[in-house]
Symmetry: C2
Subunit: 354 residues, 2 copies
């Protein structure tokens, strides 16, 4: 606390991201990074940009990224917004597209950055409880609101909401923006992008951090009606003209275009997730069906927090959330085959010896 | 305009940055980029980071950059904040450290992003007229306020405010934050950083975009009392956990440590600026004494806007501001020796033939 802080700052409870350990001998299954390296074509494109041109500002519009996303999803570039990671995109969307005079609706169990954005922009959230199986009930989202947001697949559960249910929510809310946060969609879900030309109230947010193995580069994007995108641009251009650096522009474009690498790596992750799920179940865990690159698992006889701590002692880090309804779960990122094997071998000995 | 926009968005008048042309055969003297390439050591450090590690999130704290800045300026890392370009740093500072119940004071002629931030964060600005020589009068900043900001050297004039005057402003405002925006300080001014341990109300903002030739990388930083920095961190961590990518972290650290490259390139720019100033004066221009990497010049017999357009026809772009008091000036970035010669040769023929 400082007498120089604005009244807002004094009230903020900032987001706490998963640990980014500064030692490298850990098996890191805590922040849903991709276990495989980025597309070699993306690295090459960034190598080619590495030189004297870095003295110049980047394209403030990141037009090349917009064009690449538009081509990939058969949209127009005016339907694409680009930001410094999908967290920045979400922040701008909360400020630009939510009506703060009414509550923003989102699930009770969801990405824990949403309530932080609400504080930052003076938005009142109203949480809608997931059902007993952690599923979103579209009927819950028919109450008066200033906007709606949910991740799909949801985080940290990994559970997918089918497109039909998303349509129900969109149909019930023609006058407010429905934001579908698709950070994990490429690992097993169908994107709502296909609905953009039918619903002017739909904003779909994606990231290169997960399925394109570029968490270290910080690029996310949103897709929707050109009017929604224009609203985001207005906030972005009132905040930071040049959020995406020259290397990130080149790397992102090449990563989006390298569909072969994308398909190969996500295929491996999906296969590993299914194997991991079965092995966890064989060990007595209940595992929520995941369409993401992580699993959310609960063991009826073992305390989740302690299990996480014991794994950490063995140099494996997973994510634990000390929150209502999910405090008996651990979230495990799907690693390489070797990392999954090391995890399972550790879990087996922890569970059989304790 | 869209019915989905928040009330705020509808009111915004976004910042318009200088043109970033997509053709490369121009002499680009319009956005104050450094004409020399970044430190070779910075490029090497980024090369070394270019690989599989990009799949992992960066250090959310950018601790290595904080340590490098702290070492360079003999501060502690807790006195350093890092952002995605100094524009992002400024945005966070406006939100975190200005009391919106009172006016924010800044000069009538200044960086045109300041009024945009005010709109974004509901701050009421109060502009203080520069004197007839475009100088800041410290006595003007003794009125009740919620904060003070000015660039030093000022933009787009290039005029430096001596440290004694900054002290006067700091002394007169012990209860509000005085932000000194030092984007151009390395080209001829004395940084207010030396005052940080004496004034808990001082925030100094700098960037790697100008004197470190890294506009394309997007890294800026602020320095001040640890409480002020903590306020900035709280806003940053409520907005975007990971604003600086892995390549930018490595490149920034190496650029800050490569003091030999920094001294060599800024020395050349300062020498070119002095030569350019004299040549412009010989051509009949009045030139404001500049401590920056640009000059602000006015010709009594030639319309500034037309001069800019004619230069543009000859593939040289400079910056023109159609604003009160400065509409008869052009701002010219100091380029390489060859670029300065091309500019002068063009100006000579434009001025003698028209």
């Amino acid at each position: 606390m400082s007498r120089f802080w604005s009244p807002l700052v004094s009230q903020l409870e900032p987001y706490v991201p998963g640990e980014q350990p500064k030692v490298s001998n850990l098996i890191k299954l805590n922040t849903n990074e991709n276990p495989y390296p980025p597309s070699p074509a993306a690295l090459e494109a960034m190598q080619a940009e590495m030189g004297a041109s870095l003295r110049l500002y980047p394209d403030p519009e990141s037009s090349e990224i917009k064009a690449a996303v538009a081509e990939y999803y058969k949209l127009s570039p005016e339907q694409v917004f680009v930001g410094n990671g999908s967290d920045e995109v979400l922040a701008h969307a909360f400020q630009a597209l939510i009506n703060p005079a009414k509550p923003l609706l989102y699930p009770d169990i969801t990405y824990s950055f949403y309530p932080v954005y609400c504080q930052l922009y003076g938005i009142t959230p109203k949480t809608m409880p997931l059902d007993a199986e952690f599923a979103i009930n579209p009927a819950d989202y028919q109450t008066d609101n200033g906007g709606i947001i949910f991740p799909n697949p949801n985080a940290p559960t990994g559970l997918l909401l089918p497109l039909d249910c998303i349509k129900q929510i969109l149909d019930a809310n023609p006058d407010t923006v429905v934001m579908v946060d698709e950070a994990y969609i490429d690992f097993g879900g169908e994107s709502a992008v296909s609905l953009i030309n039918d619903y002017d109230n739909l904003l779909v947010i994606q990231t290169l951090s997960k399925s394109r193995s570029l968490a270290g580069l910080r690029v996310g994007f949103a897709m929707g009606n050109a009017d929604l995108i224009d609203g985001l641009e207005r906030v972005k251009n009132s905040f930071n003209s040049y959020p995406i650096d020259r290397l990130a522009i080149k790397g992102s474009v090449a990563a989006i275009k390298d569909t072969a690498w994308f398909e190969m790596t996500r295929g491996k992750i999906i296969a590993s997730r299914e194997k991991l799920t079965h092995e966890l179940q064989a060990l007595g865990f209940s595992v929520i069906p995941s369409a993401a690159n992580f699993v959310f698992a609960h063991h009826p006889e073992h305390n989740a927090q302690q299990l996480g701590e014991k794994l950490r002692d063995n140099k494996i880090i997973v994510r634990y959330f000390n929150k209502p309804r999910i405090s008996e779960y651990i979230r495990i990122t799907v690693g390489t085959e070797e990392e999954c094997e090391a995890l399972m071998s550790n879990l087996k000995s922890l569970i059989t010896t304790s």
